[in-house]
Subunit: 431 residues, 2 copies
């Protein structure tokens, strides 16, 4: 077998190192499965001189990423550099040159997906991005190909490993948010600036990509209603547990009457739900489809080799297509469906109030809920004196009504503060 | 768009009905995603006259399956008739004619896979069988394509919905095996002759297919060590629960030092394992890969529309390839690795003994284990008098040593009977 597919790789950090390692270690099987040898011929890095201890020739490194994209001896471009400013123009140039692209860049796909897909379609080449969402988990390909004959109704994902790790430790050890975060930072599980993770922005980018794919409509990362886990307290987690729930940072995308809603926020999730048992830094994506019913895909969302495995899977796919002058399934021509605002969301809510320990409180609080048309499913008081609290779970209500209720509660004299408000995702799941 | 791919379908029972329904309901999206209309032009059935209430013209039905395979107006053959005697020759003929095939037939693929893959390779056409394993769950395609650059180490699956339903009800309600089975039969969840399900044979066929794919070697259904759930008692389930386990019927395939072991049997599984929370009739496949780490795929393993969704996903894939005169990833040329016998298995065991309620029993039993080199991890006595029992969990031992121990225990005078022996799959899973 003499055929060779030559890879130009942009970036060689954690994921790039994983890609190089896997391509070397599994070279024999990859050749057998592809029908051609896959060779890393050029790699663009910032610092050419650094010792990377990778199984590649030093000669492949360059600090000029444009030369990688333009090179005659590069058939396929792999982008693992991240960011948008440089990666975007580089990938557009690769596609313009008719070179297929494999990228792990969620930020780029979430912000510029439609333009990139159009460029790939125009050039008649593949643009694959399995590694951009949920690391090692095959989710893009199953959604795009295996479910091509089905209709996705809802996607619910645990899409960020750092936050799931923090919430798992808070749940299982009763630890406080700040303590677990500090420890995760010390161990390198969380970034020094953890905003992208704990603020939900990383999950929002991935959720935008999943929503675009599931509902055939362009969803931009900025379209996603996003709340982080910074305000989740150990009290919230204890209350959830007592009621039969766990708290997870969920990315939820659904289509109702042709309109698409996409949101990322911490939520109460019933313990019996398959996503509830996704622990630690694992990710999972739960998909409800009209014909297939409920599906879940679970695995590692990050890391050199897990993400590298997804990149290499894409490379083999795209290489096989190159050899046959074929293309994989393209993104659908998006239909630009309307987006639903978070204000229209109807769900259940958990509300925690710090209150005065006096007989009239519950009546005042209940009246306030009633005044705004929000009905109460469950209520109890915990603590006494200065630490008296009311826990309430509502029936389904709109986000707008709940927000008005919370504002009004803050003005009730016997309510010292609205300590927490979280959504409760307790709809009957298909199981 | 004028292009049409014409489907000839063999069989029109539950799954065939699902396929016809989905192709009709999602026709518009399917056309957009395929780049061609998909048309059901011929359907072979036993009784042409039966009213099927399906969205297809009566004129497409015929009782001659050969005419469907041979017809000039059939580009792609979908086989949902099941069985091997007729389906095998029909599919070989279709491939001989250069027609790609989509099949949901686990029995056929598990027994004749290598021959069929060779015929497809020879003809240069696709043979897709996503629906043959775990119904709606995309598992064949992720294993074959997404993990093409990775190395699978172990596959553990809950591959039969009927047995998982029975075990779940026994676990959650404390019900007895026979009662749950009888009720499942009355409700139509279990067949009148449940042997294929409860005896583990259905799971064994699926496990053989997964093992072949995971380890690039032909594994025949008859190569799979197979034990059913018929002898699992409510006592076993209570003991498992007390020790932190659930009992599941697992299909386990692994490669150790280039040799492949494949087995299906009920086993103790730690409650924290992701497979432990797969309840009711759901299926799931847990995959450990060198680079990707642990992955799990979860969903419905049977039913008209779930299985139909997988068939239609394959049809769209194969149709897209037809339009591009390309092929999907073919099965690897199998390397025919050696198979490991069950005798070589090293795992932990749970042993339940009915014993005499006398002081010397434990010493005698412990001596018997020790004589065979099997060490005990945990032991306790439950019940008194005539219902005295000893529960033992061993450390890892070989199957051969455990079997010799069990035989010797049966001959110990104070042991009235060896009531249960089950494998304990408690190895540290990657999570």
């Amino acid at each position: 077998m003499d055929r060779v597919i030559r890879i130009g790789m942009l970036g060689c950090g954690t994921v790039g190192g994983g890609v190089a390692t896997i391509l070397d270690r599994e070279a024999e099987d990859i050749t057998a499965r592809t029908g051609a040898r896959i060779e890393l011929t050029r790699i663009a890095v910032r610092d050419v001189g650094r010792d990377r201890a990778l199984p590649v020739d030093d000669g492949v490194f360059t600090d000029d990423p444009w030369s990688v994209v333009e090179a005659d001896d590069v058939d396929l471009v792999v982008e693992v550099m991240g960011g948008r400013e440089l990666a975007g123009p580089l990938l557009r140039r690769a596609l313009e040159l008719g070179k297929p692209v494999v990228t792990a860049n969620k930020e780029l796909v979430a912000h510029e997906g439609p333009e990139l897909f159009a460029a790939a379609r125009h050039a008649g080449v593949d643009l694959a991005y399995e590694a951009a969402v949920a690391g090692a988990i095959p989710i893009i390909k199953p959604m795009k190909e295996s479910l091509a004959g089905d209709r996705v109704r809802r996607v619910v994902g645990i899409l960020n490993g750092t936050t799931n790790y923090i919430l798992t430790r808070m749940t299982e050890e009763g630890a406080a948010y700040a303590d677990v975060l500090a420890e995760a930072q010390a161990l390198g599980y969380a970034e020094a600036d953890p905003t992208a993770d704990v603020g939900g922005h990383d999950a929002a980018a991935k959720c935008a990509i999943l929503a675009s794919l599931a509902f055939d409509t362009p969803v931009h990362a900025d379209d996603v209603f996003t709340q982080g886990i910074e305000t989740v307290t150990d009290t919230d987690i204890r209350v959830a547990d007592r009621l039969g729930y766990v708290i997870k940072l969920l990315g939820i995308a659904s289509e109702v009457d042709g309109r698409v809603g996409v949101r990322v926020h911490p939520a109460f999730l019933p313990k019996a739900h398959p996503l509830a048992s996704v622990r630690g830094s694992f990710n999972a994506v739960y998909v409800e489809a009209a014909a297939a019913g409920a599906l879940m895909f679970y695995g590692r969302g990050a890391g050199a080799e897990p993400t590298g495995s997804a990149v290499v899977g894409d490379v083999i796919d795209v290489a096989r297509n190159l050899l046959q002058t074929a293309r994989g399934a393209a993104e659908s021509q998006h239909r630009a469906k309307d987006l639903r605002s978070i204000d229209e969301l109807r769900t259940q809510y958990y509300v925690l109030l710090d209150v005065e320990d006096s007989p009239g409180v519950l009546a005042e609080v209940a009246t306030t809920f009633g005044d705004h048309g929000v009905s109460i499913a469950e209520v109890w008081q915990q603590g006494t004196g200065d630490s008296a609290q009311l826990v309430l779970i509502t029936h389904r209500a709109t986000e707008a009504a709940l927000r008005a209720t919370a504002d009004a509660l803050a003005a009730v004299p016997t309510v010292r503060s609205v300590a927490s408000v979280l959504r409760v995702e307790a709809e009957v799941f298909d199981q």
